[in-house]
């Protein structure tokens, strides 16, 4: 499964309203709930929070990848949030995060989960592409960029 298969407008939010890490994670899980991608909001939130508690998933250059595994989903779920002002995500370089990918997977799909995360890692390495994503003004624009 390719990451692009998961990217549709309803799972992209611009701009994120929350101004702190816990709020952003809740907001992204809520996007999945509102999009009909998940039923059990609390279980998904707990899975992502549990991983985040071990160490922040805030990477460098404004990217964060909160993720987790839970039986509350049967397939991979992705939500993307953009915060033009940036959110303190306890990132590796101390910079605020602007582009946040939240990924949740069921326990029995570790392979596709790892490959989706690896795709995000490669996206994170492309600074020009990330700049384009962060400057997007609509969900549609994000989807189009991802599909280019």
């Amino acid at each position: 499964m390719s990451l692009i298969d998961l990217v549709v407008e309803k799972i992209v939010k611009i701009p994120l309203e929350s101004t702190d890490k816990p709020g952003v994670i809740r907001e992204l899980v809520q996007i999945l709930k509102d999009a009909g991608e998940i039923d059990d909001f609390d279980a998904v939130l707990a899975a992502v929070q549990e991983r985040e508690f071990k160490r922040s998933t805030g990477l460098q250059d404004g990217i964060a990848v909160p993720h987790g595994k839970t039986k509350a989903v049967s397939t991979l779920k992705l939500a993307i949030g953009l915060s033009p002002k940036g959110v303190d995500f306890d990132s590796l370089d101390g910079k605020p995060s602007n582009l946040i990918f939240l990924l949740v997977a069921p326990p029995g799909m570790s392979g596709p989960h790892v490959e989706a995360l690896a795709e995000i890692a490669k996206i994170a390495n492309s600074k020009a592409f990330c700049r384009s994503l962060v400057s997007s003004s609509s969900s549609q624009e994000v989807v189009e960029l991802m599909r280019e």
């Binding site: 326990p107 029995g108 596709p112 790892v114």
Partner: protein, 162 residues
């Protein structure tokens, strides 16, 4: 005359398209009498990349590797059961590393004539051409490659096997 297909290998990764590919490969093995290798690759290369990118913690990497190993057993055994029901014996193969490299190596080592893979995602981006491990393997392999489509028809063919 030499048979065109003596050895078939199907690559599975636990996704539905890869399982359908394996089912079709069982059908092909039944009709051709070819040896069937079912190959699951534990993508440790991706996990190393994630650890390097600080997305994974070390214990998370260990946990995922363990999970993927369990997934490999689960899916290989599932395909084995499907094959046995149709009187076909398969060779289970699991390896670890970079998916496209492991597929290429297995094709060479086992003198594979035909690689069978699941349907590729319909939506593609330019980035996917570089990221998709199966597609990357297909471009560089020395054997023919069959992409399996139409899940319903594949299962019908499988069910019709005696």
């Amino acid at each position: 005359m030499n048979k065109p297909i003596n050895t078939i290998m199907v690559y599975i990764d636990g996704t539905e398209p890869s399982i359908v590919a394996a089912v079709y490969a069982i059908c092909l093995a039944s009709y051709t009498g070819a040896k069937l290798i079912v190959h699951y690759v534990i993508n440790t290369k991706a996990m190393e990349d994630l650890l390097r990118a600080s997305i994974f913690l070390e214990d998370e990497q260990v946990e995922y590797e363990h999970d993927m190993s369990a997934d490999a057993d689960k899916y290989l055994n599932y395909i084995d059961e499907l094959a046995i029901k149709k009187g076909i014996s398969i060779v289970q193969k699991r390896s670890s590393g970079s998916v496209h490299t492991e597929i290429e190596n297995a094709v060479k080592e086992n003198d594979v004539d035909l690689l069978v893979v699941g349907e590729l995602p319909r939506m593609r981006s330019r980035r996917d051409e570089f990221f998709d491990e199966t597609e990357r393997a297909m471009r560089t392999l020395c054997c023919s490659v069959l992409i399996v489509k139409n899940e319903d028809k594949v299962w019908q063919v499988y069910e019709s096997l005696v």
